[in-house]
C-alpha cells in the first residue's frame, strides 16, 4: 500500500488507489495489499480465457440478449475463471506477500477496476467483493472470482458506460484485513439530494447488510458546514449481520441494543469529521464506508459522490434490483406461497362460480372490465414478487458453482429439477389417459371419430378428473375444455409416440446432492439445506405461478368469449382476435366499431431473393441431438395438431402450453436463457432444446427439416447434403 504512487493509479484501480491516498493522509485504513492489473492480464492470456470471453460475448448481438441470457453468459465466463488454475509463475509471485501479510487472518477480497470509482461514473456494486476469506488457497480462488466479476451480468449491462473491451479491460484486486466492526455504516460528505447537507447511516454489525438493504439503518442528516444534526430517523432495529465462526450470518439483534442508536453523538461528529478529512484529501465530497471496532474508527473505502441519474426508459436499474439476498428471497417465497397463490386461487375460483349467462349485456361488459383489471393487478404482482423470486435459482447456482466447481456451470439445474411442478403433474395425468388410448384400439377409434360409445367408464372418469383440475388452463385462447375434439387429437397424437423417456434430471440427483452437501462444514449444512430448499422452490414456482396466473387469465377469456358469442348472435361481425376491452365497449354501445386488429404471432418471412438461414446459433438449454420436421407455433390452435416427433419452434414456451412438449423431438425457442420455462421442461423430459434464437419463428419455415444440437446450441435448417447430390 505504501508503495503506491500517483502514477500507479491505473495499475491498482480506483479502490486501491483511494485507500493508498487515505492511508497517506492519516486516515485509519485496514492493512491492505493491491494486486495490479498485470496479474489479471497474465492470467487471461496464459489460460486462454480471453478467447473464451470473446466467444461467449460473440454468441449473439447484445441488443438481442435478454437479461437472463446475460446472466447465463456471465455465469459461463465465471466458471471459466473458476476452472482455470493459476500458473506456477503467478502463484509464486502472489503467495509470498499474501502469506507474509495475512497468514491466519480473515481478509476481504475486493474488486478495484480502473475508473470504477471515478467521479464521472459510479457503478458501485457491479463487481464482486468477498468478505471473511481465510487461507491462501481460498484467497487465490476469490481473486479469480473478483476478476471474473469484471464480466458480471451487472457489468455487462453497463458495458458501454464502463467501456468494457475484452482486449483491454482488466481488474485489479484489493486484499484487506477484515475489520469485524461492532457498528458500521456509510457517510455521504454531501447529500445527493441537498448540497447543503451531509448524511450518515449506521447499523449494528457489518456493513454489507446496510449496503444491500437487508437491515434498515439509523439515519442522521447534518449541516454540511457545521456538522450539526438537522434531523434523525430512527430505524426499527431488529437484525444484525454478525461474523460468527461459521461465516457471516443475519441474526436477531440482542434486545439491549434494540433501543439504542448505533452511534453516540460524539461518534456522529467523528464520522462527520472523517468525511471532511476525506474531502480535503481527494478534493471532492466522498461517499464512504466505515466501521467501529473496539471504539476505533476505520475507513473501509471512499469514492466520489456521483448523481446516478438514469435515462428515462432505462430498465437496467430494475434489472439490477433482481439480485436479491438470501433473506430477501425467503421473504418473497413466503409472500408468494402463503399469500399470493392462495389469493390467486380464491380469486379465480370466485370468478368461476359466476354465472356469466345470467348477466345482462351491460352487466357482462362491466364484468369483463372487472376481470381485465384483476388480470392487470396480478400481472403487476407477478412482476413485483414472482420475477425477482426467480433469482433464488441464480443465487443457488452461484453458491453451488463456488463450492462444487463443476465443469458444467449449469449442473446445479439437475439438482433443482424434478421438483413437483404443476405442469409436470398435469402432463403425468395426461400420460395416464394416453396409456389407455395406446392399449385400447376401440377407445382410440371412438376418440378419432368423436363417438361416445367406445369410451369406457374408466377412461371417462380419468378424463373428468383431468378436466376438473386442468380444464381452465389457458394459453392465449387455448383451453382443454373448449374443444374436446382438439384434446382427443392431442391424446391420439401422444399415443402414437413411444412412452416418455425418463427425464435425465432425476438421474444422479442423489449423487449430486451428496456432493453438494459434502462441500459444507458441519455447522453450515443447515444453511446449505435451506439454500437448496429455496432454489427448488424458486425453480418450481417459476413454473407454477404462471399456471395460477393462467387460471386468472382463463376466467378473463371465459367472460370475453361469452361477450363475443352474444355479439355474434346479435349479428355483429366479431373478429376472433378482438380484445376484451373492445368486446365490453361493443356490448355497451350497439354502434361501436371494431378496429381492424392485427393477428398476433409472427408470419414466416418470405424467402428474400434466394437468401435463407442455414444454421442458427442460440444457447444450449437441454442436451441431446434431434432431427425432424419444424412445427412453427404462431397461435394457440397450432398446439393441438402438433405431431409426435416434430420439432417445436416457437417464440416462448409458456407453462400453460407445455403439454405438447412431451410430443416434441426437439425444441427451438426465440426467448433465451437456461432458466426459462421451455428449458426447464425440456430438461425434465430429456428433450434437446436450443433457446435464444432471435426471430426463430420467422427464420425457420414451417415443415422444413431441422436438426437441433442441444449440446452446442445450434439449429441446422435443411438437409446437410449439397443440392444436386
Amino acid at each position: 500500500m505504501q508503495d503506491i504512487k500517483t502514477e500507479d493509479r491505473s495499475l491498482v484501480g480506483g479502490k486501491g488507489f483511494a485507500l493508498a491516498v487515505m492511508a497517506r493522509g492519516g486516515l485509519r485504513v485496514p492493512p491492505t495489499l493491491c494486486i495490479t492489473l498485470d496479474a489479471y492480464l497474465e492470467f487471461v492470456t496464459t489460460t486462454g480465457i480471453r478467447e473464451t470471453i470473446l466467444l461467449e460475448l460473440g454468441r449473439k448481438s447484445f441488443e438481442d440478449m435478454r437479461w437472463e441470457e446475460i446472466w447465463d453468459t456471465s455465469l459461463r465466463i465465471r466458471n471459466a475463471f473458476l476452472q482455470s488454475p493459476f500458473s506456477e509463475g503467478l502463484r509464486g509471485r502472489l503467495i509470498p506477500p499474501l502469506e507474509a501479510m495475512f497468514s491466519g487472518k480473515a481478509v476481504a477480497v475486493r474488486s478495484s477496476a480502473p475508473g470504477e470509482d471515478s467521479a464521472r461514473t459510479s457503478f458501485a456494486g457491479l463487481h464482486e467483493s468477498y468478505i471473511h476469506i481465510r487461507g491462501i488457497d481460498s484467497i487465490l480462488e476469490h481473486i479469480r472470482l473478483v476478476w471474473a466479476s469484471l464480466w458480471s451480468d451487472r457489468a455487462l449491462l453497463y458495458r458501454k458506460e464502463l467501456g468494457l473491451d475484452v482486449q483491454k479491460s482488466a481488474m485489479a484486486v484489493v486484499i484487506q484485513e477484515m475489520i469485524s466492526g461492532e457498528r458500521s455504516g456509510v457517510a455521504f460528505g454531501r447529500n445527493p439530494l441537498d448540497p447543503a447537507q451531509a448524511v450518515i447511516e449506521a447499523v449494528y454489525g457489518l456493513n454489507q447488510a446496510l449496503v444491500d438493504g437487508t437491515v434498515e439503518p439509523d439515519r442522521w442528516i447534518l449541516k454540511r458546514d457545521t456538522g450539526d444534526v438537522i434531523s434523525y430517523h430512527e430505524a426499527k432495529r431488529e437484525k444484525i449481520l454478525a461474523y460468527t465462526p461459521g461465516g457471516v450470518r443475519l441474526e436477531l439483534l440482542p434486545s439491549e441494543l434494540g433501543g439504542k442508536p448505533p452511534l453516540e453523538p460524539a461518534e456522529i461528529g467523528e464520522v462527520f469529521g472523517l468525511t471532511r478529512k476525506a474531502e480535503t484529501i481527494f478534493g471532492s465530497p466522498q461517499d464512504m464506508e466505515w466501521t467501529y471496532r473496539r471504539n476505533l474508527l476505520f475507513t473501509l473505502q471512499s469514492r466520489p459522490i456521483t448523481t446516478g441519474s438514469s435515462e428515462p426508459g432505462d430498465t437496467r436499474r430494475w434489472y439490477l434490483t433482481l439480485h436479491r439476498s438470501f433473506e430477501n428471497l425467503q421473504g418473497l417465497r413466503r409472500k408468494i406461497e402463503e399469500e399470493l397463490i392462495p389469493r390467486m386461487v380464491a380469486e379465480a375460483g370466485e370468478m368461476a362460480q359466476f354465472s356469466l349467462a345470467l348477466l345482462s349485456d351491460q352487466e357482462l361488459a362491466g364484468e369483463i372490465e372487472r376481470r381485465l383489471k384483476i388480470g392487470e393487478k396480478w400481472d403487476e404482482q407477478y412482476k413485483e414478487y414472482c420475477i425477482p423470486f426467480a433469482h433464488g435459482m441464480r443465487l443457488f447456482g452461484q453458491i453451488y458453482n463456488d463450492r462444487v466447481k463443476p465443469e458444467n456451470p449449469f449442473e446445479f439445474m439437475d439438482l433443482l429439477g424434478g421438483a413437483d411442478m404443476i405442469s409436470v403433474k398435469r402432463n403425468r395425468l395426461l400420460e395416464t389417459l394416453v396409456r389407455q388410448v395406446r392399449r385400447n384400439p376401440r377407445l382410440a377409434e371412438s376418440l378419432r371419430s368423436g363417438r361416445r360409445e367406445g369410451i369406457d367408464p374408466g377412461f371417462q372418469k380419468a378424463l373428468d378428473s383431468f378436466l376438473a383440475e386442468f380444464a381452465d388452463q389457458s394459453w392465449s385462447q387455448a383451453r382443454f375444455d373448449r374443444n374436446p375434439k382438439a384434446l382427443f387429437t392431442l391424446l391420439l397424437n401422444m399415443a402414437l409416440r413411444e412412452p416418455p423417456r425418463k427425464g435425465s434430471a432425476r438421474r444422479g440427483q442423489k449423487a449430486l446432492e451428496k456432493k453438494y452437501f459434502s462441500r459444507f462444514e458441519e455447522d453450515q449444512k443447515e444453511f446449505a439445506a435451506e439454500l437448496l430448499n429455496l432454489g427448488r422452490a424458486s425453480y418450481r414456482l417459476r413454473d407454477d405461478d404462471n399456471i395460477y396466473l393462467g387460471k386468472i387469465q382463463a376466467q378473463i377469456v371465459a367472460a370475453v368469449e361469452e361477450g363475443k358469442k352474444r355479439l355474434q348472435r346479435q349479428g355483429w361481425f366479431s373478429p376472433a382476435q378482438a380484445e376484451g376491452q373492445d368486446v365490453a365497449r361493443a356490448l355497451r354501445n350497439p354502434r361501436y366499431r371494431f378496429k381492424k386488429g392485427s393477428i398476433p404471432g409472427m408470419k414466416p418471412e418470405k424467402e428474400l431473393a434466394g437468401i435463407r438461414s442455414r444454421q442458427l446459433v442460440g444457447q444450449p438449454a437441454s442436451s441431446g441431438i434431434a432431427a425432424g420436421k419444424a412445427r412453427v407455433i404462431l397461435r394457440a390452435e397450432d398446439l393441438f395438431s402438433f405431431q409426435p416427433g416434430e420439432i417445436l419452434v416457437c417464440d416462448a414456451i409458456e407453462p400453460n402450453m407445455t403439454f405438447v412438449v412431451p410430443l416434441a423431438a426437439g425444441i427451438v425457442e426465440r426467448r433465451g436463457g437456461m432458466l426459462i420455462h421451455g428449458a426447464i421442461i425440456a430438461r425434465e423430459y430429456g428433450i434437446p432444446c436450443v433457446t435464444g434464437i432471435p426471430d426463430a419463428t420467422s427464420l425457420i419455415p414451417d415443415g422444413t427439416r431441422v436438426t437441433v444440437d442441444g449440446f452446442l446450441g445450434i439449429v441446422i435448417i435443411g438437409e446437410t447434403a449439397l443440392p444436386g447430390k
Binding site: T52, T707, F711, L712, A721, G724
Partner: protein, 149 residues
C-alpha cells in the same frame, strides 16, 4: 537453396503461428471451402480440425475423404506479395475416435483452449487429415513441394 532445407521449419512456424486455415472439400465435383481452426502434429504428418457432424463440410468428406487445407500468414498489405508464405496440404480426412481422439484432442485444445466446450460435445467430430503432400509458396512465385509419405 536455403529455403528448401528450411521447408519443415517454415511449415512448423506457419502451423504454430496461424490459428485458422481454409479446408477444401467437394460434393459431386462442386468444391466447397470452410474456414476452420486447425492444429498440426509436430511431425507435420497430420492436420486436425473440429466440426459438428451436421455440417456440409463433414457430409462432403464423408462421401470423399480427399481434401486440402490452405494456410498462410498474410497481413492484407502490399508487402504480402514479398513476405507472405502460403501452404496447401493435400491429404485424406477421417473422423478419429477413442484413444486417438483423446490424444489429438489434447494437442488441439492446447492450441485452442477456448474450444473445449465445442470439442467435447458429443455432436462434434474431431477430424484428422493425413497429409500426402505440402506445396509451399513464398516470394510470390516460388513453390516447393514436400511429399510427406
Amino acid at each position: 537453396m536455403k529455403e528448401k532445407e528450411q521447408i519443415k521449419e517454415i511449415l512448423l512456424e506457419l502451423c504454430s503461428s496461424q490459428k485458422l486455415g481454409v479446408l477444401g472439400t467437394h460434393q459431386g465435383g462442386q468444391p466447397y471451402g470452410s474456414l476452420v481452426a486447425f492444429a498440426a502434429t509436430s511431425d507435420l504428418k497430420n492436420l486436425v480440425f473440429a466440426t459438428t457432424r451436421a455440417t456440409r463440410k463433414f457430409a462432403n468428406l464423408q462421401s470423399d475423404p480427399r481434401v486440402f487445407m490452405a494456410l498462410d500468414n498474410r497481413s492484407n498489405r502490399v508487402a504480402d506479395f514479398r513476405k507472405a508464405v502460403a501452404a496447401t496440404a493435400l491429404g485424406r480426412a477421417r473422423e478419429v475416435r477413442g484413444k486417438e481422439r483423446e490424444k489429438l484432442a489434447k494437442m488441439y485444445l492446447a492450441k485452442h483452449p477456448h474450444l473445449k466446450e465445442f470439442v467435447t460435445s458429443p455432436t462434434c467430430a474431431l477430424v484428422k487429415i493425413r497429409v500426402d503432400v505440402y506445396y509451399l509458396v513464398w516470394r510470390f512465385q516460388n513453390v516447393l513441394e514436400w511429399k510427406v509419405k
